[in-house]
């Protein structure tokens, strides 16, 4: 799928791509840290999930449209998303009384996964699948 005259597909310059490769892991790690440490510090699942989504948006801005769409269409994302929702549902419906690991680690991680995939998907839907791009794809 190549589009002529569309400079966004190639992403930004080499400097930004290199910096993105280095910093991506740290941003992801910080998001997970915010999500997991929510029971002792300010933070929580939703804020951590938004930071994870920001790192995915960062990848999209640096590397272009195709990389982001490939990540969205990857089947692993759907599996992880459905799995986290099922785990969350099971914990809440069964009503575990265990404090510690279940409620403080697993539920924020499930929240973070759901929030991150939702915000990244909304970003993709609003930005990448706009009418102008669809027209360009048809006219090709």
């Amino acid at each position: 799928m190549k589009r002529m005259g569309n400079t966004e597909d190639r992403g930004m310059t080499l400097i930004i791509k290199t910096v993105t490769r280095i910093t991506l892991g740290f941003i992801l790690l910080y998001g997970i840290y915010i999500a997991v440490s929510g029971h002792v510090e300010p933070g929580g699942g939703f804020a951590g999930g938004v930071i994870v989504a920001l790192s995915l948006v960062h990848v999209m801005l640096a590397f272009g449209k195709e990389a982001a769409l490939n990540r969205l269409h990857a089947s692993g994302l759907r599996v992880i998303l459905g799995l986290s929702t099922l785990v969350f549902l099971t914990i809440v419906v069964l009503g575990f009384r265990c404090r510690g690991l279940v409620s403080e680690i697993i539920i924020p991680i499930c929240q973070a996964v759901i929030t991150a995939s939702a915000l990244f998907a909304i970003f993709v839907a609003l930005v990448l699948l706009s009418k102008k791009d669809r027209d360009a794809e048809e006219g090709k």
């Binding site: 929580g44 969205l72 929702t85 409620s103 539920i107 609003l126 930005v127």
Partner: protein, 173 residues
């Protein structure tokens, strides 16, 4: 409490600028100013959880808005039907102010009646859940089903986007 009034004035000024300015990019920047003001207001009111979440959500929404609207020029028409527009605006403003007056008369002062449930939360949160952050303890222990409802709404949004953006749907027409 002078800081909160200054922040509120800043937010109102930024909101008026966001509505009135002609350029779309300037309007988006002014909306971001409103969000940063709200984040600072949460910090002044001693709610750092909400401040962190508001900050990251504002950054993400600013990126989305700039990326989605920077190439377009939304047509904005001011001519015609100004009588209807003005009268409906005045009527709705009057209704809003009346309802806000009635609602604000019944609101207690900030934190004045310490309710029974609130006192239970404050006293029992750490012994029951072992969580130092009472906000998270309430959100994911005492009100876990409420949080599940929020997560379900977000999950429905993901399902909708995945259904729209799948390849077979985009190939048609």
């Amino acid at each position: 409490m002078i800081e909160i009034h200054l922040i509120l004035l800043f937010m109102i000024a930024a909101a008026v600028i966001a509505v009135e300015v002609k350029d779309l990019l300037s309007s988006i920047i002014a909306v971001g100013g409103v969000g940063i003001g709200l984040c600072m207001a949460f910090l002044v009111l001693k709610a750092p959880d909400l401040a962190i979440m508001q900050l990251v959500v504002e950054i993400l929404s600013l990126i989305i808005l700039i990326r989605a609207t920077i190439r377009k020029d939304v047509p904005f028409s001011v001519s015609g039907r100004w009588v209807f527009n003005t009268t409906s605006t005045v009527i709705f403003l009057a209704v809003f102010l009346f309802a806000a007056y009635i609602a604000l008369k019944t609101v207690h002062q900030f934190g004045s009646p310490e309710m029974r449930v609130l006192r239970t939360y404050l006293e029992e949160a750490f012994p029951l859940t072992g969580s130092l952050n009472i906000v998270e303890a309430i959100a994911i222990n005492f009100r876990a089903i409420d949080t599940l409802g929020e997560a379900t709404a977000i999950f429905a949004a993901v399902i909708g986007v995945l259904a729209i953006a799948r390849k077979s749907a985009r190939r048609k027409e």
